[in-house]
Symmetry: C2
Subunit: 412 residues, 2 copies
């Protein structure tokens, strides 16, 4: 008794449920790997994630999905499903052009490259990673060619991240940003007003850090019945669904107050967005939207005086003895460091511009990967007015190079 | 570029990977629900589990699987995949007869019935649950009819649990067991030798219990790099794969020593089997095999003198002051209680016989569900020589009735 009597709308629901199940399973596997997965099961979990990704590909390119996408009138769907339909339609048409073999090959190489990236970071030497990067770049070029963006290979990557985003747009934005940021940066550097910041870098005990983080999440209305926060080695954010949003606070590497505030508030923002957004598939959510919420919290709320007045009693003991004015000024002071994750938001756009320009040049074949370390350093000199001490402080900061996962990235 | 060029063997691998992914995702979801899942996400997780189960059905009944199953020569497969092939072949042929609608209906009713079972346990009243049970029984009868076992509806259920198992076989086994167990039971009751057992029922603190459990797992060679044990409200056992076996020890409801030893060693046995078995799909493993390992540990190893000599130093303080001989005798003493989970293995087969006889009678329409409480009590009088005080001590012990999930069950 094969299920042939279902209507197109019912068929669409089946397609959607399958994608939701894959997406949710993948997210849960990721969270589990960070938190509780067994040591010896790592390879098995990686294979499984590959299987789920491949299955999503196979499903979206199947005959039944093609039929639904081409024949279903979206007006027949309940309103809540419309944006999912648009998303699936776009994905199906996009993936139809990409051969299955590309997917499996890319995944295999990316897994290996990720390991070698870690080795390169350990050795503080980009060249350890380079041969693997080359292969991934070639695969990304293939992807762009399949996607059919003609000469504008990087455009294919941008469009993948944000519908319709083009290099011209991004070029113009960075141009505008530079015009504002560079003069401001040099003004700040020359200013006589340099707030005290040393106290913000005191180390905080893990337990205290988790207490503070929980208080901040409570203050910003995180719903603990629809999610949880855990102490983890690396910070992470895994929204399984609006009812189950999981956050990892990187407590074990006991952090300074400033870093902790920034990271925690960024997670608060992302989490609140995830708990209140109404998408059926997490993948429908534009990356920039989630980032915008994170940034709103980490760069504005976490630096506003009124927020400090509200959360003062929850702050770590070491900070308590400073006045709100001192904390406020310190948090808003600009840090001049070559490390993107430690630098102030004034520097971050310039860091992003470096990454963006390199990605584009790589994808368009305008730069040899051998030259990347010194091109990075040159740009850092021009934009940040800082010297690059070594690969770890330079090119090996571009974490997404590890899998050649190009395109706009979270601006933590 | 659709993936049409794959060979039948490659196609089979894809089928297998899909099933493994579904199975693993389901198991991880189950573990996560027990341990870390959010409160508000419970409904969403239940839906998702339904989707995964339905997807497995849809996949196994698809045209592509049918083609693989009918045309592939199993001799072309690597040896490691042979048993998976046989399993999938059998499942595919079995499911082909069952309409998709049956699956979704059964799942929906089972979820509701499970809630009502809990209500009935709270109220200590089977009749609260009865109307929901009736509906599930009707669905199970439908299943048996689809499966095509003619008048022997219960045979369809038995075959589902263990390939080829028939009512005649089980009837004969129980008959044999009764002939041995009933005289032994009456002999034990009349014996003058009644070991001290009171000390085995002392409550043990949660922390101490977890320490003891961990030691026992270590002593029995559980590989902690291929699994983990957690403290949980109910005991559970979730093998994600041989490399990742998860066990819940029901510590929060601080247990007595005897119960703890039995439950913990049962889990040890199951876990070791799961960590060393070579099946690609957990579902391939016959339920009786896993149970046999659990029982070997809980009923033999946990009651042997040499085991106590080995683990003595790890036992809880309260037990320490007793001699090995006293512990050994106490653990092997027979407990006469109406509660199956607390009764000795001498009584368990009789309990199982009660459940089995009721299931069979229900499926074959020989008993009205209204009569179940007193039929249970009558049988308990005949087999166990014990009075049934109320539904909780009687019919409401048959936990698998909650979802009408009939057939041979773990004999913890």
């Amino acid at each position: 008794m094969p299920p042939v009597t279902r209507s197109l709308e019912q068929e669409f629901e089946v397609v959607l449920q399958r994608l939701i199940a894959n997406e949710h399973s993948l997210a849960l596997l990721r969270w589990d790997s960070y938190m509780y997965g067994s040591t010896k099961g790592a390879q098995m979990r990686a294979n499984l994630m590959g299987t789920l990704a491949e299955d999503t590909y196979r499903h979206l390119t199947s005959e039944s999905v093609k039929q639904v996408v081409e024949q279903l009138d979206p007006n027949d769907l309940p309103t809540g499903m419309l944006s999912s339909f648009t998303y699936i339609q776009k994905q199906a048409r996009r993936l139809e052009k990409i051969p299955y073999e590309w997917y499996t090959k890319y995944e295999k190489h990316a897994a290996k490259a990720m390991q070698m990236w870690t080795e390169a970071r350990k050795a503080n030497d980009f060249s350890v990673f380079r041969p693997f990067f080359d292969r991934l770049v070639a695969l990304q070029m293939d992807y762009a060619d399949y996607a059919g963006f003609g000469d504008d290979r990087y455009g294919a990557i941008l469009d993948l991240r944000e519908d319709g985003l083009t290099s011209e747009q991004v070029d113009a934005w960075f141009q505008q940003l530079q015009e504002v940021v560079l003069p401001l940066l040099s003004h700040v550097k020359q200013s006589n007003k340099q707030p005290k910041t040393g106290f913000l870098f005191e180390e905080i005990e893990i337990e205290e850090q988790m207490d503070v983080a929980k208080s901040l999440f409570e203050l910003t209305n995180f719903d603990f019945e629809s999610g949880r926060i855990d102490s983890s080695i690396h910070p992470f954010f895994v929204p399984l669904s609006p009812e189950d949003v999981r956050v990892g606070i990187s407590a074990p590497s006991a952090k300074e107050f400033k870093k902790m505030m920034k990271e925690t508030l960024y997670s608060c923002g992302q989490s609140l967005f995830a708990q209140t957004s109404n998408h059926l598939l997490q993948a429908e959510v534009p990356a920039s939207m989630q980032q915008a919420y994170g940034l709103l919290f980490s760069s504005f709320i976490s630096k506003s005086k009124s927020f400090f007045l509200q959360c003062k009693e929850h702050l770590p003991d070491a900070i308590h003895r400073y006045s709100i004015d001192e904390i406020h000024a310190g948090m808003n002071a600009v840090d001049f460091t070559i490390v993107k994750n430690d630098s102030s938001e004034l520097m971050v756009p310039l860091h992003l511009q470096i990454g963006y320009e390199l990605e584009k040049a790589i994808m368009n074949g305008e730069i040899a990967t051998r030259d990347l370390p010194h091109v990075w350093a040159d740009k850092a000199g021009d934009y940040l007015s800082l010297a690059t001490p070594h690969d770890l402080g330079g090119i090996l900061q571009e974490y997404h190079f590890a899998t050649a996962d190009f395109g706009p990235k979270p601006l933590n």
